[in-house]
């Protein structure tokens, strides 16, 4: 225990004394963490955008006025059992009317026009939301050829179906690009951390030699270096995290104005441990591996 405490103390000493190296470590880790955060948030924004656009894409089946409700529910059940169907919502014409009235409560002209009609002008319909855009074609084909075709007035995709499908197709490539971007960031981070560790250890080679001279074991020599490097990286990471947190709070409204579903702050807080432990884990493992490799040369007995 005493031995371990002394190793930790030695790590702290190294952190304090190697001011320039510590500063360089903090600065590089700060930049690396910022880049990793940028990668994570790029991924988030992309996924949110795709999700937003996907949600615009739905498929509605409008029924004839005399359609039997039982038949409609049967068809709803059949569609629900399709693969990749996320949700099927049945909206009766009464519900459609209430929803319309609520939505346009503040528009007296529309409300008056509706009241003057004396009848409910809406019809029953179901909204199908699939997990993948490709599923809509399959459902549409089935419905068109099903025995329920007789009770169906018309089917509709969103008006922008083709544009949305093109966007989703494009977004798949974009996803690959973002993932490649994140991988490159991680690879570069790893290389920069490795080179920095090499330089750090090279600059300390005389000290390592002296430690060997006075009988220190490899564990006693290696661990303080790793600890001091990790401490510097931790400080750099904390600074980056603080900056990102401030930016997220300050730009909360900005993102919502771009797209109402954009809320990177909520995403960050919801995934706080996963994101932070992930980055810290990456830094720790990078430092451990690079320190082991870099020190090996000087620790040969």
């Amino acid at each position: 225990m005493l031995y371990l405490l002394r190793i930790i103390k030695e790590g702290w000493e190294l952190f304090k004394r190697r001011k320039i190296i510590t500063f360089a470590n903090i600065f590089v880790t700060f930049l690396m963490s910022i880049f990793i955060f940028i990668g994570i948030f790029s991924n988030y924004f992309l996924n949110e955008s795709i999700e937003y656009v996907k949600n615009r894409l739905d498929f509605s089946i409008y029924f004839k006025d005399d359609a039997n409700k039982e038949d409609i529910l049967k068809l709803k059940n059949i569609i629900e059992n399709f693969q990749n169907v996320e949700k099927v919502t049945y909206v009766t014409k009464e519900e459609a009317l209430v929803s319309f009235q609520k939505k346009f409560l503040s528009n007296p002209v529309l409300v008056k026009a509706l009241n003057e009609l004396k009848i409910n002008p809406f019809i029953d319909y179901i909204i199908v939301r699939a997990k993948t855009p490709e599923a809509y074609d399959e459902i549409a084909k089935y419905v068109e050829n099903s025995p329920y075709r007789a009770i169906i007035d018309f089917l509709t995709y969103s008006e922008n179906r083709n544009a949305i499908l093109r966007f989703i197709h494009f977004s798949n490539y974009l996803k690959i690009f973002v993932n490649a971007f994140i991988s490159i960031i991680l690879l570069f981070s790893l290389l920069i951390i490795f080179n920095l560790t090499l330089l750090t250890i090279y600059s300390q080679k005389e000290e390592i030699e002296i430690f060997k001279l006075i009988g220190a074991s490899n564990f006693f020599i290696r661990t303080p270096f790793i600890l001091s490097n990790f401490l510097a990286s931790f400080v750099g990471f904390l600074l980056a995290e603080f900056l990102i947190f401030v930016i997220l709070i300050r730009t909360k409204n900005f993102w919502t104005n771009i797209l109402y579903s954009f809320n990177p702050l909520a995403y960050y807080l919801d995934n706080f441990w996963m994101i932070n432990l992930g980055i810290l884990g990456f830094l720790l493992i990078s430092i451990l591996i690079s320190s082991f490799i870099a020190l090996q040369k000087y620790l040969k007995v």
Partner: protein, 227 residues
Amino acid sequence: MIVFKNVTKVYFPNITAIEKVSFEIKTGEFVILVGRSGAGKTTILKLIRKEENPTQGHIFYKNWDYHRMRGKEITLLRRKIAVIFQEFKLLLDRTVYDNLRLPLEILGLSSKEISKKVEEMLRLVDLWSHKTVLAKYLSGGEKQKLAIARALSVNPEVLLADEPTGNLDPISSMEIVELLKTINNQGITVILATHHKDIVNYLNKRVITLHQGRIVRDENPGKYALI
């Protein structure tokens, strides 16, 4: 205690540092290695501490065969065989006290034992009053004294001194030599590599003379006589 049997060391690509060197050093002896630069003195010291491995031949320390030693045994061996150098090899940006504290911490001594030992060693080399001074501010002689104190602090059985007076003025050199004699009188085996004629002749101890990697003279007591 230390036995060399036909030891040869060839450095890459093909530089023979020592060739078929054999000798035995007994416990408590004071042995001086003399020879011109490149004669093989430092190589012998490095081989004794197992910082280098022989190309041929066998080295023994007590019952340990160097060929069979691995990791922890090597660390243990190096704790028993301390070394001081011409260039001191101190942690210059740490205090005199810290330079002595560190090896004792590595040994696992308690804080109380460390304080006691550090004071004892610093008083031995007359540096107690400098305990809070950074090592880089010491004079050459003081740095070497500190290096000796550090080497002795771990209670070694052997002290190797590689040109310890090489960077010192004559007065400081004599102080170091006296210190080495005192250490040897306490029962520690001292192996001194030097080419200072005055020191060799003053000490009047066993002298092993090297020339181009071979032992050309081994006398006890011996005098300085290079080929």
